[in-house]
Symmetry: C2
């Protein structure tokens, strides 16, 4: 078979590679788009093409950028002498949704892993140390995931930053806002107890 | 905020309108694409643009077409004097996956509904009757969903086709292949019993 069905099947195969979509839901999504060709399919194609063309990694922090550097690095309002270190752009987005952090970021792109041969160079840790010196950074906030890999990486970075003069902190661990003790794991409760504060 | 984040947010909003994706999974899908801009995002944009540009409704049967008529209407091998009536292009695809039907289709685009003001004209039923006469169709197979709306529409079409000389049939109802009686609803078991066949 050649022609239209092939094009549509190729499109379904591409959609099925997205996280959260399988072959069946990709077929359903494509069918939905085929029914709304003017209103949804063409705009989606254009938006994807625009972003694919314009997006690049910020050479300074690793965030998704469109210009030479990303919006956050570009913004003079964000030059607070604080760098928040995150594993991934998704984590950067999550931090930005919180809206509490006003400094700049450094996206590692993963965690240290001897097994996958991911060392400090792959995570741009030397680049982070250079930034801390060059940008006169007073505080480095390690916002890495509370997993073994995240915490191992955090400890490595903290050691590597010794001697730069920057304070190294990490996100507090404890009970999430709205969290019910009964549903929390033991590790979180222990950590929250150890980090208890005076009311 | 203007610029890249706006473009990316617009893309996430478009993705979130796909069936099976919500705001969170759309964000995850876009992030996945941003990480694979060359390998996945650009090809997906191109595939969507190609299909959005080329696809149209087949004026004869209502299937998704690329040329003047769809592949199935174009194929001389499919001119068997049989028309299979389906509600939707999704149902046509499901029939084609089965591969058992070798005739042509007629896509209604829905079912009759007084509430939604969907009458025979909206479903191109007069067009179906004209096709049955013009194409010397010997059999019309109603492959409508086994729902109240589907069956109401099937009965209406069967009546409307009286006098055309075409035999009107519908898909058999019964136990699905691999189906376990214990898990089937009472209606299906009753229908299967009524339609029982000699072994």
């Amino acid at each position: 078979m050649s022609g239209p069905r092939d094009e549509i099947e190729a499109l379904i195969a591409l959609m099925a590679r997205l996280p959260g979509l399988g072959p069946r839901s990709a077929r359903r999504a494509v069918l939905h788009l085929l029914r709304k060709r003017e209103g949804q399919m063409a705009p989606l194609a254009a938006a994807l093409a625009r972003v694919a063309e314009a997006a690049r990694d910020c050479p300074r922090c690793g965030n998704i950028a469109v210009g030479a550097t990303c919006e956050i690095c570009d913004s003079p309002a964000r030059a607070t002498g604080e760098i928040c270190v995150v594993e991934d752009v998704a984590d950067l987005w999550a931090m930005e949704r919180g809206g509490a952090f006003k400094g700049r970021y450094h996206v590692l792109g993963g965690t240290l892993s001897a097994l996958d041969a991911i060392g400090p160079e792959e995570l741009r840790i030397p680049h982070l140390i250079a930034r801390v010196r060059d940008e006169a950074v007073g505080e480095v906030i390690l916002a890495l995931n509370a997993t073994v890999e995240g915490q191992t990486t955090a400890h490595y970075i903290a050691e590597a930053l010794e001697g730069t003069g920057a304070r190294v902190t990490s996100l507090a661990q404890g009970v999430p806002i709205g969290g019910e003790l009964d549903y929390l794991d033991d590790g979180t409760i222990s950590a929250a107890l150890r980090a208890r504060r005076a009311l």
